[in-house]
């Protein structure tokens, strides 16, 4: 039996992301997902900042709670994993997740989602999205032990975190001067 209970989670530094989408496509490259399936999504937030979100491997995953087939497990390292053998493609998890993490795959007719590249992590590699981030705006840590006073639990534009307690933390953006033409 393994010893440590971890909660691996993403840390997103708003200041360092400029929306290059490398993380999103690196995820597809690694997992060869169908073109309609977006395990990770880069979106534009207010104030012309960007947000890159995948499954947040929540502390209280809604997907886990609503799945009638009990197809989700939360691994000891905190990764929420869907067992596609058990998934019937009913779509309840897709509706329940506040972050749009589970995606319906029209090819397999099942839900699939980010598994934080655990096969890579098991080999000591970072998730593909983290590896691809050239400015290290996206990193990952064990949130059970990692703590930095400058981090915050949420940022404007991120869905309500109360329900699921997502394993993601943020560094907010710094202030900037902008001089537009009159």
């Amino acid at each position: 039996m393994r010893k440590m209970v971890k909660q691996m989670g993403f840390v997103f530094n708003v200041d360092l992301c400029f929306g290059c989408m490398a993380c999103e496509i690196a995820c597809r490259n690694e997992n060869q997902t169908d073109s309609t399936v977006r395990w990770r999504k880069v979106s534009r937030l207010i104030d012309d900042t960007f947000l890159s979100v995948s499954c947040n491997h929540c502390n209280s995953p809604e997907c886990f709670r609503v799945c009638p087939e009990n197809a989700f497990t939360k691994r000891g390292d905190g990764i929420v994993h869907i067992n596609s053998d058990l998934c019937t493609g009913c779509g309840l998890c897709i509706e329940a997740c506040p972050y749009g993490a589970p995606q319906y795959d029209p090819v397999t007719q099942k839900a699939s989602k980010c598994h934080m590249c655990y096969p890579r992590q098991d080999r000591g590699l970072p998730p593909a999205c983290v590896e691809s981030c050239s400015t290290e705006a996206l990193t990952f840590v064990d949130l059970n032990t990692f703590c930095d006073k400058k981090m915050v639990g949420t940022i404007p534009g991120f869905p309500d975190t109360r329900l699921t307690n997502p394993s993601i933390a943020f560094y907010p953006a710094k202030e900037r001067n902008r001089y537009f033409l009159k």
Binding site: M21, A26, N29, T49, R178, Y179
Partner: protein, 674 residues
């Protein structure tokens, strides 16, 4: 799983080191090459989509032939037949006109690997022919840089991370050079200020500490205004001015007498206190990088703008040689013999030279050719019917051509108008050698997988086609068809290249990319004296050409800017589903002013028009766009370049394409309009 080493060959600053993961001869995934010091194990979004590029359902599999041209009536043919048809035509034209001048090509930067100069090598090998010259992209700026600094080699871009301030003029690395952003943001994390000057509120501008929006094409005004303030406050580097410049007196007088700060503010649209903020950055005693984007020189004042920015950059910053860093581009290729490009033509008894046409006006000039006219056109590594301007000229040129051959991986706009289309190999299917026009790394590109169906590399096509010609007519071409790709690469690694990149043989490059040794500032470069901005030839008092208010421009009041989009390079990558999530419609961005003036609402279907034509698009209203600027991304199904016409510059020097000098108007779409 086997792993091979590659270099991304796209026309992009980064020329990334890349690894491919191969299982049973199939490309499973790609990753960045961690041994490459510039991209450091990462790729961009486009790079990560390469599996979809290689195994794309739209990729061309076989040689095909279309009769008649443009009909869409395609027929698969064998390589043999393709070669025969082309060889027949070349030989017949040669017989008809007594030389190969009726045969020509239009090729540019679809793949910037050194072995892709096989196209030039192939045409050189048949003696005098018709070839494009010039560079639509960055040559105006290159000339301005050489004039200022006497050379083209900038500091390693990695060193931007150590700067205390970075001023970016009209570049948008967040979209066009994503790997540079980490060095910029590293500097910023350590407290450096990032300043972006751009007419458009770009993604790079959004990350900047200070964004200064400027009227398009007026960067020179801003630089001279700032220089004037710098001189007035005596915060410029006086020792440098005394010892290292050639025309200080002239410049000083010019700035004193001719640069009026009110006029600077009026032209640029920037308030004086904002210019002062810029001056305070440039007068800091710490290292400061200036980066001049290619966009700066896409207008008629391009060269002058760059010269003015260079001047500001070296005046401030207490420069010295070390801190004087103006980034524009790095001509890494100058170190190499580029044997294919410079392949020596066999002599022709009568015709002494090949015929040269300015690539920026290729179609118009080519259709004017006589004795002989251009009859065969070989299009490779380029999609002129999407990328060029002036499509009308292309249409009339095509009517004159007897054979059009296009080599490409996809059915491009240009391929659609060709007689024969040959399937090209991707860089995973061929060997190559790559340097960058930005960073200082040299990489080898290995062949990792067999060619997709019948695809071939440009070099392979050259070898086979030239052999075919020589079989028919011995001695017609002097192309060394027996030479393998690896031989060509070996020939590029001359003793001086090996020394410069510390390699002994090709195997060293298979171990990982190599960095060019920084030149210790040798005597020749330190003896060079900087040339400050000068207003040009005596007598011509025009310093900057203003956008003239002619009748034509009254009716087309908006300036058209056409930047690159994030997930494409021109029309490349258009067919990759990962990169094109939503069924994308052409989008035109317009200011709130323009929208209000023309009664256009967000999401309306609009048409953009001028004397050259019109395109339809969906309106997106931007509160950040200058009033009189309209912005459309490049390429697409209905390429925006339809509306752009190149105005040849008055001097006869080579110049880049003035893509950003076009005027347009916009109105709501009408179903029935004439």
């Amino acid at each position: 799983m086997e792993i091979y080493r590659h270099a991304c060959p796209r026309n992009c600053f980064s020329t990334c080191g890349m690894l491919s993961y191969i299982e049973d001869g199939k490309l499973m995934k790609v990753s960045g090459d961690a041994k490459h010091g510039y991209n450091q194990g990462r790729l961009c979004a486009k790079g990560y989509a390469y599996t979809q590029y290689v195994y794309n359902p739209y990729r061309l599999k076989h040689p095909i032939k279309q009769t008649p041209r443009g009909s869409g009536n395609w027929e698969r043919i064998s390589w043999e037949e393709a070669y025969d048809t082309i060889a027949d035509k070349i030989l017949e034209l040669n017989k008809r006109y007594g030389s190969n001048l009726a045969s020509g090509y239009n090729k540019f930067s679809g793949n910037i690997g050194l072995l892709h100069y096989a196209v030039e090598g192939m045409f050189n090998s048949i003696g005098p022919h018709t070839k494009p010259i010039g560079n639509p992209c960055l040559i105006t700026g290159e000339q301005a840089m050489r004039k200022s600094f006497g050379q083209m080699n900038s500091m390693m871009p990695e060193k931007m991370a150590k700067m205390n301030a970075i001023v970016i003029w009209g570049a948008n690395p967040a979209v066009t050079n994503v790997h540079q952003m980490k060095f910029i943001l590293q500097a910023r994390q350590k407290g450096a200020k990032l300043i972006v000057i751009d007419p458009v509120f770009t993604r790079t501008a959004a990350t900047a500490d200070i964004f200064i929006q400027i009227n398009p094409g007026t960067d020179g005004w801003l630089a001279l205004g700032a220089a004037k303030l710098l001189i007035q406050s005596e915060s410029y580097d006086q020792e440098f001015v005394r010892n290292q410049t050639v025309n200080w007196e002239e410049f000083h007088q010019y700035v004193n007498e001719q640069v009026d700060l009110h006029e600077v503010c009026r032209q640029t649209g920037i308030a004086l206190d904002v210019i002062c903020e810029l001056v305070s950055i440039y007068s800091m005693a710490e290292p400061c990088a200036t980066w001049i984007g290619f966009g700066i020189q896409r207008n008629v004042n391009g060269g002058k703008n760059i010269s003015a920015i260079n001047t500001l950059a070296v005046l401030g910053c207490h420069s010295g040689q070390e801190n004087r860093c103006v980034y524009y581009s790095h001509s890494g290729i100058d170190d190499f013999p580029v044997n294919l490009l410079n392949h020596e033509e066999p002599e022709h008894p009568i015709v002494l030279h090949s015929r040269e046409i300015d690539i920026n006006n290729f179609a118009e000039n080519a259709s004017k050719l006589v004795d002989p006219p251009l009859k065969l056109l070989w299009i490779a590594l380029r999609n002129p019917l999407s990328q060029d301007q002036d499509f009308q000229a292309w249409e009339s040129l095509m009517n004159e051509l007897e054979l059009i051959v296009t080599v490409d991986l996809f059915m491009t706009k240009s391929a659609e108008m060709s007689d024969i289309v040959l399937p090209a190999a991707s860089h995973f299917e061929e060997m190559d050698l790559n340097v960058s026009y930005w960073h200082h790394w040299l990489s080898i590109n290995e062949k990792a997988i067999p060619p997709y169906y019948e695809a071939k590399s440009d070099l392979q096509i050259a070898r086979e086609l030239m052999k075919k010609l020589n079989d028919r007519s011995p001695g017609f071409s002097n192309f060394p068809s027996e030479r393998e790709p690896i031989d060509w690469i070996r020939m590029e690694l001359t003793p001086s290249v090996k020394k410069l990149y510390s390699v002994e043989c090709i195997d060293d490059l298979l171990e990982g990319p190599r960095l060019r040794t920084e030149e210790v500032s040798n005597s020749s470069s330190s003896s060079f004296k900087f040339r400050l901005f000068s207003q040009g030839n005596k007598g011509t008092s025009t310093h900057f050409i203003n956008r003239r208010k002619t009748d034509v421009e009254e009716s087309y009041p908006f300036q058209l800017l056409t930047p690159q989009s994030l997930l494409k390079i021109h029309s490349q990558y258009e067919t990759m589903p990962w990169l094109n999530q939503a069924a994308e419609q052409e989008v035109v961005e317009l200011s709130e002013y323009a929208a209000e003036k023309n009664g256009i609402m967000e999401g309306d279907k609009v048409e953009l028009f001028n004397q050259n034509g019109k395109i339809a698009a969906i309106a997106r209203i931007s509160r950040f766009l200058p009033q009189k600027v309209i912005l459309v991304k490049q390429a697409g199904k209905n390429p925006i370049n339809r509306l752009i016409v190149h105005r040849p510059q008055e001097n006869k020097e080579k110049s880049s394409m003035n893509f950003y000098d076009s005027s347009v108007n916009i109105r709501k779409w009408r179903e029935k309009n004439g």
